[in-house]
C-alpha cells in the first residue's frame, strides 16, 4: 500500500463544492481511489483563495475553483491546469444588492460597493454595469472580506454589495434591500470547476478517473428524491453551517450538472469560449493576468474540439470533456 500514488484535493465551503465533503466522509472517494489503486486525501480549507494558492504552488494536485480564478491564479502563474469536472454554474447564486426598496442597478451609480475585489463578484458587477451602460469608474469598489460581508452590510456605511450565497441570502433577508442584478442574468458565466494539475493528470489518468467517478456517484445520491438524498444534503447543509432548507435554497439558484452528460453538453457550447473571452478581458484590464502579460492573449486556453483562445504556445488552462464523457458512457 505504501507505494500507491498519493494525491491531494483541496476544497472550500461553497454550495457547489459541498459534495466533495460528503464524498470524502462517506467513503465514496476512497472507494473510487481504491478501484484505481491510488490514494486521495480530501482536505478542507477555510479560506478559498488560500486553497487555490496552495494548489498553484504545488501543495495540492487538485482543487475546486471558479473559471475566472482558474485563469488568473494557477494558469497565469504558469501552472498548466485542467478543468476536470464542470460541476455547476451560478444561476442567481451571486448577486448585487442595494439598500432601499425598489432600487434598480442604475441606482448604483456613485455609490461605494463592498465586494471581494478581483473575485467573481467583481466580474459579475462589471458585467452588470455593462448591461446598463455604466463603467467601473462610476462607482467605487471597497474590498471587503467575505467572512465579514454580512456584518458589514448591517452597518450604515455600506449601501451596496456584490456577494454570493449563503451571504447573499442573509443580506437579502434583511429588511429594506433590493437585489438588482444576479448571475441568472449572465447564465453559464460563473462556473464552478474541479481543477487538476495537467502534468499530474497526464501521468496519472487514474486520478482523473477516480475523482470523476466519485463526483458523479455523489451527484446521483444527492440529486434523488429519496431519504438518502435528503440525508446527503442535510449532511452538506450542516457542514456549511446552515440547515437543509437553507442549503436547498442555495441549490435552487445553482445550476448543478447532476449528470455527466449535461456537463459535457455545456462544455461543448460555443458560449463557453465567449465567457472565457469576457473573463480574460476583465482579468487583463484589472491587471491580474500576471505582470508579464502584455495583452489578454498572454495566457492561452484550450477547449474541447481543439479550439483555443490566446497564445497557443502558452496554453495553461484546458477545458476537457474526456473524463466526464467516460462517466457519461458508464466506462469508469
Amino acid at each position: 500500500a505504501a507505494d500507491k500514488p498519493k494525491f491531494k484535493l483541496a476544497w472550500s465551503i461553497y454550495v457547489g463544492w459541498m459534495p466533495w465533503d460528503y464524498a470524502a466522509k462517506e467513503g465514496i472517494v476512497k472507494k473510487w481511489a481504491d478501484k484505481y489503486g491510488i490514494d486521495i486525501e480530501v482536505v478542507q480549507i477555510n479560506d478559498y483563495v488560500e486553497s487555490i494558492n496552495q494548489y498553484t504552488t504545488g501543495q495540492f494536485d487538485a482543487c475546486v475553483m471558479t473559471n475566472m480564478d482558474a485563469l488568473t491564479i494557477p494558469a497565469a502563474g504558469g501552472v498548466d491546469s485542467t478543468a476536470l469536472i464542470i460541476g455547476d454554474f451560478s444561476n442567481g447564486n451571486d448577486g448585487v444588492v442595494l439598500k432601499g426598496k425598489g432600487k434598480t442597478l442604475k441606482d448604483i451609480k456613485g455609490q461605494k460597493v463592498n465586494l471581494v475585489e478581483l473575485s467573481v463578484s467583481h466580474y459579475l458587477l462589471a458585467r452588470g454595469l455593462d448591461s446598463v451602460g455604466l463603467k467601473e469608474r462610476d462607482i467605487k469598489v471597497v474590498n471587503t472580506s467575505d467572512a465579514d460581508m454580512v456584518a458589514a452590510f448591517a452597518t450604515a456605511d455600506v449601501t451596496a454589495t456584490v456577494t454570493w450565497n449563503p451571504l447573499l441570502g442573509e443580506i437579502t433577508a434583511m429588511p429594506n434591500t433590493s437585489q438588482v442584478f444576479d448571475s441568472s442574468k449572465i447564465p453559464g458565466e460563473i462556473i464552478d470547476l474541479t481543477v487538476v494539475n495537467s502534468d499530474t493528470l497526464k501521468k496519472h489518468p487514474a486520478l482523473g478517473k477516480a475523482l470523476t467517478g466519485a463526483w458523479y456517484e455523489t451527484m446521483q445520491v444527492m440529486s434523488g428524491k429519496d431519504a438518502a438524498a435528503t440525508k446527503a444534503r442535510t449532511f452538506m447543509a450542516t457542514a456549511s453551517g446552515t440547515d437543509l432548507a437553507g442549503y436547498d435554497a442555495q441549490l435552487a439558484t445553482t445550476k448543478m450538472f447532476y449528470t455527466p452528460a449535461e456537463a459535457v453538453a455545456f462544455a461543448l457550447t460555443p458560449e463557453l469560449l465567449k465567457t472565457m473571452d469576457y473573463v480574460r478581458t476583465f482579468s487583463f484590464e484589472h491587471g491580474i493576468l500576471g505582470e508579464g502579460a502584455k495583452n489578454a492573449d498572454a495566457v492561452g486556453m484550450a477547449f474541447p474540439g481543439g479550439k483555443t483562445l490566446g497564445d497557443v504556445k502558452n496554453v495553461k488552462l484546458r477545458f476537457i470533456t474526456d473524463y466526464m464523457k467516460l462517466a457519461a458512457d458508464g466506462k469508469l
Binding site: 480549507i45 477555510n46 494558492n53 467572512a147 465579514d148 454580512v150 456584518a151 442535510t234 453551517g241
Partner: protein
C-alpha cells in the same frame, strides 16, 4: 477629607466597585438587544440572553449532527492543543536562543540583529508564505504562533539574561565555572521564572495568531467556529465563544502565574509585572 489619592475602598466595597462596569455593560447590552429585537424579531446582531443560553447549551451538550462530537469541547481541545504546542515550542526556542544571545557575545553579535528584524515583521502579512512553506496542516498554525511570539520572547529572555547582576557572573567564574556550567547552573535556573513571565505577556498575541490561523485553514477550533458562523452573523454563538476564549485566556494566565510562584519560591520579580 483626605486627598483622593489617599482614599482607599475597603475590603467590601472594592469588589463591588470592580463589578460595577461589568454590570453596566450587561445592562446596556440587554437594553440594546431588546430595542433591536422589538424592531426586528429576527435581528441577529444582539440576540437576547435566552438565545445566547440556548446556543451555549447546544454546542456544549448536544452532539453535532454531522460529526457526533460536542462542538464546544472539540473546538476547545483542538485550539488548546495548538496553542499549547505553539507556546511550548516558542518558549523552548526562546530559552535556547535567548540564553545564547544573552550570555555569549558572539552569539549575540550574530543573531540578535536578525531576531530583532524577525520580531518586526508582522506575521499576518506573511501568512501566505508561511502556509506555502509549512503546508496547511497543524504545522502551519503552530508555526504562525511560533513565528508571532518566539522572536518577542527571545528578545525578552536575552534582555533578562543581560539584567542578571554582572556580580553574579563574575562570582561564578571565581568559583571556577566554565561557560557551560555558568549557563546551566547560574543563568538558566534564574531565567526560567522570567521566561514564564514573558510567556504570560505573549499569550495574548498567541491567541490572536491562533485565531487568525484557524480562520484560514482548519476543521475545528474556536477561531474556526467563529469564522464559520461569522458568515451568517450568528452572534448568538460568537458572543459566548468570545467570552469563553476570554475566560480561557484568563485561566491560562492565572495558571502560569501560580505555577511560577510554586515552582520558583525564591523568585519575587513576578509580582511586579502581574
Amino acid at each position: 477629607m483626605r486627598r483622593l489619592i489617599n482614599q482607599r475602598p475597603n475590603g467590601v466595597s472594592a469588589p463591588l466597585l470592580g463589578a460595577l462596569p461589568f454590570i453596566l455593560l450587561l445592562l446596556v447590552y440587554i437594553v440594546a438587544s431588546q430595542a433591536r429585537l422589538a424592531e426586528n424579531p429576527n435581528d441577529k446582531l444582539l440576540p437576547g440572553l435566552d438565545s445566547l443560553v440556548s446556543a451555549i447549551q447546544q454546542v456544549a451538550t448536544e452532539p453535532d449532527k454531522r460529526s457526533g462530537a460536542l462542538i464546544l469541547w472539540r473546538d476547545t481541545a483542538a485550539s488548546l492543543v495548538r496553542l499549547g504546542t505553539g507556546v511550548a515550542i516558542s518558549a523552548l526556542a526562546a530559552l535556547l536562543f535567548g540564553i545564547a544571545t544573552g550570555a555569549l557575545p558572539y552569539a549575540r553579535a550574530t543573531l540578535s540583529p536578525f531576531i530583532a528584524a524577525l520580531a518586526l515583521i508582522p506575521p499576518l502579512a506573511i501568512l501566505p508564505v508561511l502556509f506555502i512553506v509549512f503546508g496547511l496542516g497543524e504545522t502551519s498554525k503552530i508555526v504562525l504562533i511560533v513565528f508571532g511570539i518566539a522572536p518577542f520572547i527571545m528578545r525578552d529572555v536575552a534582555m533578562r539574561v543581560g539584567e542578571l547582576p554582572g556580580e553574579q557572573i563574575i562570582k561564578a567564574q571565581t568559583l571556577g565555572a566554565n561557560s557551560w556550567q555558568l549557563i546551566l547552573r547560574v543563568i538558566t535556573p534564574q531565567i526560567l521564572p522570567r521566561l514564564l513571565d514573558a510567556v504570560r505577556l505573549a499569550l495574548g498575541a498567541a491567541w490572536l495568531f491562533l485565531i487568525a490561523a484557524e480562520a484560514i485553514a482548519a476543521e475545528d477550533g474556536l477561531g474556526y467556529r467563529i469564522f464559520l458562523v461569522r458568515r451568517y452573523l450568528a452572534m448568538d454563538l460568537i458572543l459566548p465563544y468570545v467570552a469563553w476564549i476570554t475566560l480561557l485566556a484568563f485561566l491560562t494566565d492565572w495558571l502560569l502565574r501560580v505555577a511560577n510562584a510554586k515552582l520558583f519560591p525564591w523568585y519575587q520579580g513576578g509580582a511586579r509585572r502581574s
